[in-house]
């Protein structure tokens, strides 16, 4: 008789969910995630939908930067490509903007991924020749080029300051943006949109997890750690980097479309360097080179604004007491400033104290408890 819980074959050893304990916690987590619209407030759910888009984008960035080791500051560019592909396909043409008027999400969401992936494939050949800081500079340039193009191309973007209607999510004829109770159960606004985003994020997470435990994912990490040795192993460096760029850009494109669909209007100037840095922050805080890390980091960064509110409630009275500050411009801090402060301090704290991010923190805690009752 086989011993219970023993891993018996290699297939089992390489499975995503290896132990009953993991399966239990994963099920619990999924239950909480899927039931969120029932117990969560409108505001927080709205943040979470953005969070799910961030999750997809952060996984994409972690593939190219965390796993393949190619530092990319151009993530915002690929998000923009995805967002505007989606908008172009889903919105009707108006007097000032062009569009195809196909609101079906199963058309424009994959299209956003494919077009952004192709954009990554086009930029790839330049990017694969460079390493480290030089690559960062080139991808930085990409953001500025993209930003400029979007500002000028007003038939696509509707022009700076105006923007255009965001893509309309319609799944097989059902408007995902509609509100009201579902099957008699009272749910938060945009519950359908949330559930759809959740399913997309889960599917893309599984695809990414499969990728990183395959020969492709191992090649990514080999290229990152030692490229000479990787070449002698028979790994084609250029090809591997190109794959990383393409897949990462496709994820960014999907994220851009998911991010745009929850908005009323999208504006050309929001895909800037700050957005790229936000994604770097997500994978740094969550955990470089870890898919769960990217997810945790993205959700944390996405929900920071909701934490900034309560913190400012505490901080503002303190500033009020310190009356001499009130005469200065900019004090007390408003919520936006506090948010920026939080991002900044999170980044600095993690880079200094735990470069492996929340995942590294979790590993420490887990190993501590594994070793726990100490034998003294």
């Amino acid at each position: 008789m086989a011993r219970p819980r023993m891993i018996g074959d290699h297939g089992q050893a390489m499975a995503l969910v290896r132990t009953p304990t993991k399966a239990f916690w994963l099920t619990a987590l999924l239950l909480v995630a899927f039931s969120a619209p029932i117990w969560m407030s409108n505001g927080l759910l709205f943040l979470l939908i953005a969070g799910l888009a961030y999750v997809v984008g952060a996984i994409g960035l972690n593939l190219v930067t965390g796993f393949a080791g190619q530092l990319s500051l151009g993530h915002a560019f690929f998000l923009a490509v995805g967002a505007y592909t989606a908008t172009f396909i889903s919105s009707e043409s108006t007097g000032t903007t062009v569009g195809l008027g196909i609101p079906e999400i199963l058309v424009w969401l994959p299209a956003a991924g494919i077009v952004a992936g192709l954009a990554g494939l086009l930029v790839g050949p330049i990017a694969t020749r460079l390493k480290g800081l030089y690559l960062a500079i080139v991808t930085l340039g990409l953001v500025f080029v993209g930003d400029h193009v979007l500002r000028e191309w007003s038939s696509l973007t509707g022009g700076v300051g105006f923007g255009r209607a965001a893509p309309d999510p319609t799944l097989l004829g059902i408007d995902l943006a509609r509100t009201g109770p579902i099957l008699g159960i009272e749910v938060a606004r945009s519950a359908l949109l949330y559930w759809f985003s959740l399913v997309v994020a889960i599917v893309l997470t599984i695809l990414a997890l499969n990728l990183v435990r395959s020969r492709i994912g191992r090649a990514f990490q080999a290229v990152r750690d030692r490229d000479v040795a990787a070449e002698v192993m028979g790994i084609d460096l250029t090809r591997t980097k190109l794959i990383a760029f393409t897949v990462s850009s496709a994820y960014a494109g999907l994220a851009g479309a998911m991010f745009a669909m929850r908005l009323e209007t999208i504006e050309a100037t929001q895909f800037n360097l700050l957005l790229s840095f936000l994604f770097i922050a997500m994978i740094l805080v969550g955990g470089i080179s870890s898919i769960p890390g990217a997810i945790v980091g993205a959700l944390l960064i996405a929900t920071l604004p909701s934490m900034a509110g309560p913190i400012s409630d505490v901080v503002t009275p303190i500033f009020d007491v310190l009356a001499f500050w009130r005469g200065d411009a900019g004090f007390p801090l408003d919520t936006f400033q506090l948010e920026q402060l939080l991002y900044g301090s999170l980044l600095i704290t993690f880079v200094l104290l735990e470069p492996r991010g929340l995942m590294g923190l979790w590993l420490r805690i887990r190993n501590y408890w594994r070793a726990f009752p100490f034998s003294y």
């Binding site: 290699h10 390489m14 990728l211 030692r226 000479v228 070449e231 002698v232 028979g234």
Partner: protein, 287 residues
């Protein structure tokens, strides 16, 4: 420790696959870097199933010869033929795919990956599924992964790496890392194995273990081995033939017993030319 497991059940022997012509033919090869001549008019042949050692003082061009064979460097003049093809016309990955594996003088493992993943990277060229298939984890991908994992586990058994299988390579001691690097090269199912200082920095026990592994690899799998090593005792005991280099030039190329009494070799290793040092030199080179 000394138990040798039948590695041949997991890795096919190259005994039959190898042609009878030489595995490596270096013909009047030179290699220079901006004024420095690393390799100068070197010619040698390595026969199938031979354990061929390259020795020489520091800077003699031993590792440069390896880099010429594995395609990392291109010869300035002359040619290196590997497994019947000109190495200068191929990229390092192409040469690797032909069946040339190597280890490095300074360990070049992927430190952030586990032992098993490092060995799986050696299997890279034996898996060919596409990126899309990998993301979907199709049954074919799963089969390929399991089959290759079996080979890797056989190598883990052979090299006694079981306790370290899941550890990150960067955390393991030096001697173990050397063994892992040998395992990774072995996982490639090479026809030609290049070992760059396999026992450098090892103690006596680790050296003897490594010597046993090297002999087993040659005898059980019939892999041709070229070895660069400073440990003269090991070289003289193991090698079928020894090539001695000094300042990029060949000064001897023969069986160990002849090489270790060659005056030019003794001169290269100890300097001077006096007869008085010769006895001491013979003792030194013999190890």
């Amino acid at each position: 420790m000394a138990i040798t497991r039948p590695l041949g059940t997991a890795l096919p022997s190259t005994q039959d696959a190898l042609p009878d012509e030489p595995v490596v033919v270096a013909d009047d090869v030179s290699l220079g870097f901006a004024g420095v001549t690393a390799v100068s008019h070197v010619s040698y042949e390595v026969q199938p199933r031979e354990l061929f050692a390259i020795v020489g003082p520091n800077g003699a061009g031993k590792t440069s010869n390896f880099n010429l064979i594995s395609g990392v460097y291109r010869a300035t003049s002359g040619s290196v033929c590997v497994l019947g093809r000109d190495a200068a016309t191929m990229s390092p990955p192409e040469i690797a795919r032909m069946g040339v594996a190597r280890t490095f003088q300074n360990i070049e493992l992927f430190e952030n990956l586990s032992v098993v993943d490092n060995l799986m990277l050696g299997r890279q060229q034996h898996m060919s599924y596409s990126t899309v298939a990998a993301m979907l984890r199709t049954p074919a991908v799963r089969r390929a992964e399991v089959a290759n994992r079996q080979v890797v586990e056989a190598i883990v058994d052979f090299l006694d790496l079981q306790p370290h299988r899941a550890s990150l390579v960067g955390m393991l001691p030096y001697g173990v890392q050397k063994r892992i690097e040998l395992g990774r090269a072995l996982a490639m199912e090479p026809k030609l194995l290049l070992l760059d200082e396999p026992v450098a920095g090892m103690n006596l026990e680790e050296t003897e273990d490594m010597a046993r592994f090297i002999l087993d690899i040659r005898d059980e799998l019939g892999i041709t081995i070229i070895m660069v090593e400073h440990d003269m005792g090991l070289v003289m005991d193991l090698a079928d033939r020894v090539l001695v280099l000094d300042f990029g030039e060949v000064i001897a190329n023969d069986v160990p017993s002849v090489v270790q009494r060659d005056p030019a070799v003794i001169h290269a290793y100890l300097g001077g030319s006096g007869e008085d040092v010769e006895d001491a030199a013979v003792a030194k080179v013999t190890g």
